[in-house]
Structure formats: structure tokens, C-alpha cells
Symmetry: C2
Subunit: 205 residues, 2 copies
């Protein structure tokens, strides 16, 4: 699993001339970092004097953050796996008509997962903005900048994942699929910068 590598090695492997891990896996990791910071602010709030009223909210945020973090860790691999699946499909034999047909359909299938995996990451990272807003509003004031960093990492995760959706959509022939996914991409893309801005406007320094 990619997340079993140490941070230094992960960066080194990303930097190499192998296409994975690439932007898609980095998007998932960025979302994972946002989830972790959100949990941290919640954990720095729970049990703190003066924050009794936020206690229940923060416990729920921490729980949701943990579950998202563990999901995003899996997504780091899922994205690289989907890319490898497409590459493997391209390498299938294409001598006979039957082989050509099988190869074509494997490429289409692979490309579909290579769009659906980052689309799900984008949706999950977007959904996280709600708990990030909560930690910024009600969480430990000493950690408010950690909430701000979480908001920006989540925004970058959403947009990064969407770039990976869009580049893979380019090779998909199923127009209904392309139309449906494009609609979802546009919706997330048009909203995320505003949501980030709204959260950051609540971080007064």
C-alpha cells in the first residue's frame, strides 16, 4: 500500500519518471491531510475548558474526520490502481478482431474507473467542508489556522481530483456517461472556491 511508504519515499516515488503515484493520488493524500487537521482541531477542543458547548459537535467531527481519513488513505492506492488498469488495457494484444474488441472494451472500462475514483474523492473532499467549517467556528481558537489549512487542502483536493476526472473523460466514448460526469464536475468546480472563501472569511487573525 502506498500509504505504508514513509513520507520521504512517497515524495521520491512521486518525483520519479513513473506516472504513479501522480496528481490523482496526491489529491487523495491532500484530502487525507485535511481530514487529519480537522480531527486534530476537534481533538484539541474536546475536554477543554470554555468549549463545553461545542463538545458534542467536536466528538462527531472527530469521528467523521477519522472515517474520511481512512477512506482517503485507501483512495491514494485506488487512484494509482485505476491508472495502472488503463495502462494494462492499452498493452493488451490487438492482432485479431476479437482481441481488438476486447482491448477496446478494457480501455473503456479502465477509463471509466479512472474517472469514477477521483470523482468520488472530489465528492468526499467537498463533503468535508461542512465539518471544517464547524471546527473553524466552534473549535479551539488556538488551532483556528489549522482549520484554515484544512479548508485549503480540501479545496485543492477537490479541484485536483476533478482535473484527473476531466483528463480521463477525454478517452471515454459513452456519451451519456461523459455528460453525466461532466455535469457533476461542473457543479463541484463552480462551488468549491466559494465554500473555501466563506470558511476562510471566518478565520480572523
Amino acid at each position: 500500500m502506498l500509504a505504508d511508504m514513509n513520507v520521504k519515499e512517497f515524495l521520491e516515488k512521486t518525483a520519479s519518471n513513473s506516472p504513479v503515484p501522480g496528481g490523482g493520488s496526491v489529491a487523495a493524500l491532500s484530502a487525507g491531510l485535511a481530514a487529519a487537521l480537522t480531527e486534530m482541531v476537534a481533538n484539541l477542543t474536546i475536554g477543554k475548558k470554555g468549549y463545553e458547548a461545542a463538545e458534542e459537535d467536536m466528538k462527531e467531527v472527530a469521528k467523521k474526520g477519522t472515517s474520511l481519513r481512512l477512506q482517503f488513505i485507501k483512495d491514494i492506492d485506488k487512484d494509482s490502481d485505476a491508472f495502472n488498469e488503463v495502462m494494462a488495457a492499452f498493452k493488451l494484444p490487438k492482432e485479431t478482431d476479437e482481441e481488438k474488441e476486447a482491448r477496446k472494451s478494457a480501455i473503456q472500462e479502465g477509463s471509466k474507473s479512472a474517472t469514477l475514483v477521483p470523482l468520488q474523492v472530489a465528492k468526499d473532499a467537498f463533503s468535508m467542508m461542512e465539518i471544517i467549517e464547524k471546527v473553524v467556528e466552534k473549535g479551539n481558537k488556538n488551532a483556528v489556522t489549522d482549520g484554515a489549512v484544512a479548508a485549503m487542502m480540501a479545496r485543492t483536493a477537490v479541484l485536483s481530483a476533478l482535473y484527473n476526472v476531466k483528463i480521463n473523460l477525454g478517452s471515454i466514448k459513452d456519451t451519456a456517461f461523459v455528460e453525466d460526469v461532466t455535469k457533476q464536475v461542473n457543479e463541484l468546480e463552480s462551488k468549491i472556491n466559494e465554500v473555501e472563501k466563506k470558511i476562510l472569511s471566518k478565520v480572523a487573525l
Copy 2:
């Protein structure tokens, strides 16, 4: 060293109720991920047919990217260390006048490094935008979205580091220092979103 932890553990430690690693270290890691993706696009371009004209540029980009990546890996620790220094200063004895004075000056010193470390990360991440623009313009077209992700991760690193500068500036009494740093913060902050936008506008999908 924090970067010797595996990715899963790093995220877990971030999520815990210990304030470090926090947003400052995540900013440095985000910058490191941007550097790694930039190197990757350069490495996927070097030696590729059709990209001969970009060869020299890409070699230089890869070299600069590597050196920045290794620096950012060190900054992950530097930021957490600076935070710990401030915390240690707060715990110094304050019985006698002499102790009070020594404690106060240790807090001031610590807070100054806790602003200068992320300020340097912000500057270095900002400086990276130049090589990111190069890989987006001249690099392997198949990896153009990786350049886009690098631009967004670098932008987020700059702004995240600046949030950490600003929160630490709050406890510094040296007004000349505060003024000088604030000026630098404002300059980086006012430019980075535009630079990101400009680079992303060159990523046509």
C-alpha cells in the same frame, strides 16, 4: 524525523490531540508534494520524442525541484520544532524577576523563529511557481494535470504557511519585526492566487 514516518502514521499523528505536526508542517509537506509532481512532469518529458526543444529546461526544472523537495522535507520538522520551542519557553520558571525576564525573552525568540520558518516555506513555495509554469507550458502533455495539481498544492502551501506566520506574529512585541514580516506576508498573499490562476488558465482540457 517526521518524514521518516509512513504516510498512514503521519496522518494519524497529525489527527491526534498533539498540536504538532499541525498546519505548518502540513504546509511544508504540501510544498514538498508540489515539488515532487513538478519533478515528475519534467522526468516524464526528458528523453521523450517531440519534446527535444524542452529537454534542457526540463533538466533544470528537475534539478531545482529535487533541491526544493529535500528542503521542504526538512521544513516539515523545522516548523514543528519551532512550535515546540515556543511551548518550552512558556514552561520556563517565572519565580524571580530574573527568571521572568529570561522566560519573556525566550518566548519572544521562539515566536520569532515560529514566524520565520513558515515565512521561508511560503517564499520557497512561491518561488516554485516559476518551474511549475514551465512544466505546464513545455512539459509532457499527458502529465499536464499533474502540473495543475502542483500549482494548487504550491498555492495552498504558500497561504497555509502564511496563516502560521500571522498567528505567531500576534505574540511578538518587536514592532519593527512585525511590520517587516507583515509587509512580506501581504505581498505574497496578494499575488499567489493570481499566479495560480494564470498557470491553471494554461491547462486546457
